[in-house]
């Protein structure tokens, strides 16, 4: 990695750091129901939605009511999407209608998009018609992200309110998050992307005449190629901003129609981390102590930077076995060097590694390179970032509420070590809070490990493997890590479009999403009911570098202890084999 690589990373982080605070403050206004500017334009629409749906926007919900509304809404969303996918053939129009998809795939895809995972077992443009993508997937892209935002809003209210029963209104949070945060941002990004040449059209195909027609297997000359088009820019905007990640095209953001220019690549990468980073500031703003938000953001940034460094280093170092064969993997003016297998030459090592790190740190899952082709350690980084529970930035809303569960555990242990009943932001952490935080933190790793274990021995699981040895194991582990933590990216070597994987991964996604969201709401409910303990000299401050270090340590230790054995049998042994080969 040369100077330009450093500069690109630095520029990326700088722009991110510059945009996050104002956006964070804006989101805080939206969450708090205060005037945010856009409400003058869209307030009518908001009220109309409430009237149409029969929602009374100022009803305060207890945590159980809030969770029930959330689960009901998501269940309906999953069912609707499932039906749409199954029945897509009925609505087929245009030149190349696509048939409905089989039940297990429809289940997987429906769950995947509703849980903000966007794992794609289907083949993008070749499986789903534009109408399905727009009506089904894009809608879920918005509301699944808005669901994450709603849970976060409720959790923050739980921390801020004193002696209260309610956590706000789920429907209001959902509508306001969509209307005032996700829609305007997506519109803006879609326009910017379209300006860069990301396609946005209702025509579905274009015939292109090839400049150098190749000869087919049967000896005939292939003169033309059918290129799939569609309303891409609008879907790409929300898939990046809402940490969804499900691309319009199968190869996701490596596709030139989805990501045509360096600027479009930069914007899409920025959009992955923008909202999760801004939410840290929202948090600081709403708890009336900006430093609390900075501390969480700092912890996330630290893990992100360290992971990025490992990933870039591993990819740039390339493969020693190829080096032994005399292949030049050195970076030079003519080539990026390093391990370029599975990477788009337009992006090279740094942008591919940066994207891979960002998309797995946040629970985005969009890709611009094949993670399966990364070096063992380079591939370990994205895998481990998911296994940490998608809390390093994480999903929109879900990342921050996930990391707050870790904060509760860190505060608990640290609080004990300073000789006080632990408290966070003036709320005492008791047995119930501990139970909920432990549930939210420990269920995803258990889902990932159990799923991987079943797939590693079940014939149906092993059947999907393209690679033998530790790499095949890594592919299974990656798939379940991605599903169980709602990321959605894949080690593509695994043939996952089978009834077994579609079902198993679909269940993992359900557990990974709601077994964190519901405990987070329960935690919010019990915190809201508590009184406030004013901080004193004996209180552990939670905005200091020391606490940031403790939080990072807790996240890494839980991640390491849960996954070290599995990683040892996957990427670590693969790496050792690679470097120790004669």
């Amino acid at each position: 990695m040369g100077t330009s690589g450093f500069l690109r990373i630095a520029l990326f982080l700088l722009v991110l750091a510059g945009l996050a605070p104002p956006l964070g403050r804006y989101v805080a206004r939206v969450f708090a129901g205060r005037p945010c500017g856009l409400d003058r334009l869209l307030g009518g629409a908001e009220r109309l939605i409430y009237r149409l749906c029969g929602v009374r926007p100022d009803t305060d919900m207890t945590w159980t009511a809030y969770a029930a509304a959330l689960l009901a809404f998501n269940a309906v969303g999953i069912l609707a999407l499932y039906l749409l996918l199954r029945l897509q053939g009925l609505f087929a129009f245009g030149p190349a209608p696509l048939p409905g998809i089989p039940p297990h795939l429809a289940f997987n895809a429906a769950v995947s998009f509703a849980t903000n995972t966007n794992w794609q077992s289907y083949g993008g443009e070749w499986t789903l018609a534009p109408l399905t993508q727009m009506l089904g997937l894009t809608v879920q892209n918005f509301v699944s992200a808005a669901t994450g935002l709603a849970v976060l809003a409720a959790l923050i209210r739980g921390l801020v309110r004193r002696g209260a029963r309610g956590l706000g209104n789920f429907w209001t949070d959902l509508v306001r998050s969509t209307l005032y945060i996700l829609l305007p941002l997506s519109l803006l990004l879609a326009l910017l992307l379209a300006s860069q040449g990301v396609v946005q059209t209702f025509s579905t195909r274009v015939e292109a005449t090839l400049l150098a027609p190749p000869t087919g297997a049967d000896g005939s000359v292939v003169a033309t190629q059918t290129l799939v088009l569609g309303p891409v820019a609008s879907q790409v905007a929300i898939k990046q901003l809402g940490t969804n990640g499900g691309g319009y095209f199968n190869v996701n953001s490596a596709h030139p129609f989805e990501n045509p220019t360096p600027l479009s690549g930069f914007l899409e990468m920025l959009a992955i981390l923008l909202v999760p980073a801004a939410l840290c500031h929202t948090f600081g703003h709403l708890v009336r102590d900006a430093r609390q938000g900075w501390a969480v953001l700092a912890a996330m940034a630290l893990v992100f930077l360290a992971s990025l460094a490992v990933c870039v280093r591993a990819e740039q170092a390339g493969n020693p076995r190829l080096a032994a064969l005399g292949l030049d993997q050195q970076a030079s003016a003519l080539q990026p060097g390093g391990n370029m297998e599975g990477k788009e030459v337009r992006f090279g090592i740094v942008d591919s590694a940066l994207w891979a790190t960002a998309t797995t740190a946040a629970s985005n899952g969009s890709v611009n390179a094949m993670h399966d082709s990364f070096t063992p350690l380079g591939g370990l980084v994205p895998m481990w970032l998911m296994q940490l529970g998608e809390v390093v930035f994480g999903g929109v809303g879900s990342g921050l509420y996930g990391v707050l569960l870790f904060v509760v555990v860190a505060v608990f242990i640290a609080g004990l070590m300073v000789g006080r009943t632990p408290e966070y932001l003036g709320k005492k952490i008791g047995a119930h809070e501990m139970k909920m935080a432990a549930l939210g933190i420990l269920v995803p790793p258990m889902v990932v490990l159990t799923g991987t274990a079943i797939a590693a021995v079940a014939p149906a699981g092993v059947a999907g493997l393209a690679n033998p040895g530790p790499h095949g194991f890594s592919e299974i582990l990656y798939a379940f890590s991605s599903a169980g933590n709602n990321n959605g990216s894949a080690f593509a070597g695994l043939s996952a479009n089978t009834p077994f994987y579609n079902l198993a991964l679909g269940l993992a996604m359900l557990f990974g999403r709601y077994w964190v969201a519901v405990p987070a709401l329960a935690l919010a409910g019990s915190l809201a009911g508590k009184g406030f303990t004013p901080p004193g000299a004996g209180t552990l401050p939670t905005h200091t570098p020391l606490f940031v270090a403790l939080l990072v340590g807790t996240i890494l230790l839980v991640g390491a202890l849960s996954f070290l054995p599995a990683l040892a049998l996957g990427p670590i042994v693969e790496h050792l084999q690679m470097v120790s080969a004669p």
Partner: protein, 689 residues
Amino acid sequence: MSRRPVSLFDPGLAARAALASLRKLDPRVQARNPVMLVVAVAALLTTGLWIQALAGRGEAPAGFILTVALCLWFTVLFSNFAEAVAEGRGKAQAEALRSQRDRALARRVATPARDDPAPAWVPAATLRRGDLVVVEAGEVIPADGEILAGIASVDESAVTGESAPVIREAGGDRSSVTGGTRVLSDWVVMRVAADPGESFLDRIIGLVEGARRQKTPNEIALQILLAAFTLAFLAVTATLLPFSLHAVRSAGAGSPVTVTALAALLVCLVPTTIGGLLSAIGIAGMDRMLRANVIATSGRAVEAAGDVDVLLLDKTGTITLGNRQATELLPAPGVSEAELADAAQLASLADETPEGRSIVVLAKQRYGLRERHLHEIDARFVPFTAQTRMSGVDVGDRRIRKGAADAVAEWLHGHGSAPSGPVQAMVEEIARRGGTPLVVADRGRVLGVVHLKDIVKGGLRERFAALRRMGIRTVMITGDNRLTAAAIAAEAGVDDFLAEATPEAKLALIREHQTGGRLVAMTGDGTNDAPALAQADVALAMSSGTQAAKEASNMVDLDSNPTKLIETVEIGKQLLMTRGALTTFSIANDVAKYFAILPAAFAVSYPELRALDVMRLASPESAILSALLFNALIIVALIPLALRGVRYRPVGAPSLLRRNLLVYGLGGLAAPFAGIKLIDLALVALDLV
């Protein structure tokens, strides 16, 4: 009574604890602690595997499986041992408490009159609530109770260590007596306050012995966290078997990991260090309180003490010396200072109370009067009695008396005299400034007034500063007027004060702090303190106080030393810190154990994984045994720390955390690498592997 700490490895105690640790293998006992339950189940499982191996169908050599099984059983036993040792120490303390009471005999009577014709002599231990007992001078008070009739001076040094006798009388705040103290003069008729086995002391004995110990809220929260970790590690180790099967199949080499190795890994990973010591830590916390001569009625109270934000401290006895000191002599009109000094000194020569001594000292320092001996000047000392409330001396025809203004006025009245106006004015002026006036008179003539002033105890300023660094505000409570209160508050360095305090005002102050989310601790001894004590989160009653005060409190200080509140706070903090430190240590330990066991378990399939064996252990068997042995032995090694508690320093939360993270976090990461390697070397040296 002596409360010498019982040594940890006192042979008798250790033997009893060893026996108790076997008894605690009872599944009902094990089920209380999820972490150790998992270990016990793993131990059973490996024992089963060993029997299977003996039958010739074992997954590994029977000897190896047996060694692992033994290590697991010892892990369970060591944890039981820790609990038993903590309980044993409590029992030893409780025995000391019990025996001093059980030896005494009591004279039971039918009516609350001293001259009951037929008193029955019964063992003190058989007295029941409501029994009436007469206690004469020289006898030991047989039980806690309330005085119904009589007045007596009581030597409470057996309980409090304070040698000066105190007055106990029927009615009012001084009617409570404690079992084990001795009546010096006069007599009392008392009513016993509790049945045998239900007395305060008995409840305490039950608590320190651990028999009736309930888990405290924080302990429950921690146990949930530990159980969650245990579940997660259960998933980690259980899934390793399929992972290993997959590895064997795809590598085409080696054999799947043995269940024995997985059981060993599981026990190494689950937080056994803290899990095994958790209950010992709780018991030891109560025990430390007891050794500080504070009896806590529940573990919850000890825990709450560590959380206190505001300390309400009574001025008298806590902040100032309970005994005021002479600072000034104000002669009556027509009397010289020297004459007053001479009389005041004479009257105080034989007065051994601190006030009396302070007058002699003042006379010597300020007026150059040398100390004289009564027999040299042929004087007769008139001691203080509860009735006259004066003391003094008869020399020739002089009758010098000193005492409270009203007591002296009454005496003067008997001599057909009364204090003059200016003397009255002096008395009022001193009282207004928060001092205590002591009038000195000779027969009918008032000589003047001694000004006794509150003296702030030494070293308090530093303690309050330390409390401030701990994040605890100190509030002085006093009946004095604001002026005096402010002066003393400033001198003592408290953060705030409540002057002219009434019981209602105290209660209101506590409620105000609690509404603000703060935890309030206070001390008290009088019946009128009871409502406030009941309201406070941590209430420390003085053993010398009334029964009502004790019942409203959750702790009783046997020394009746109100500054003890500060120590109870420290003990509470220590308790939480010890839990936190050992949890951190326990979890941090796991990293090294992975490095020992993973290469050992999987190198057969993937030889490259030997690169993870950073400790270069002798063999896979040795690696697994070393990690297991380290895991078991560390429990024993940390028993002293669990019992003693992690040291608390009043340095503020961030520095405490930094220090504990360094010692127990980083230390916990590093220590097992060294420990496991050393055990491995020892095993090889002893030719055991």
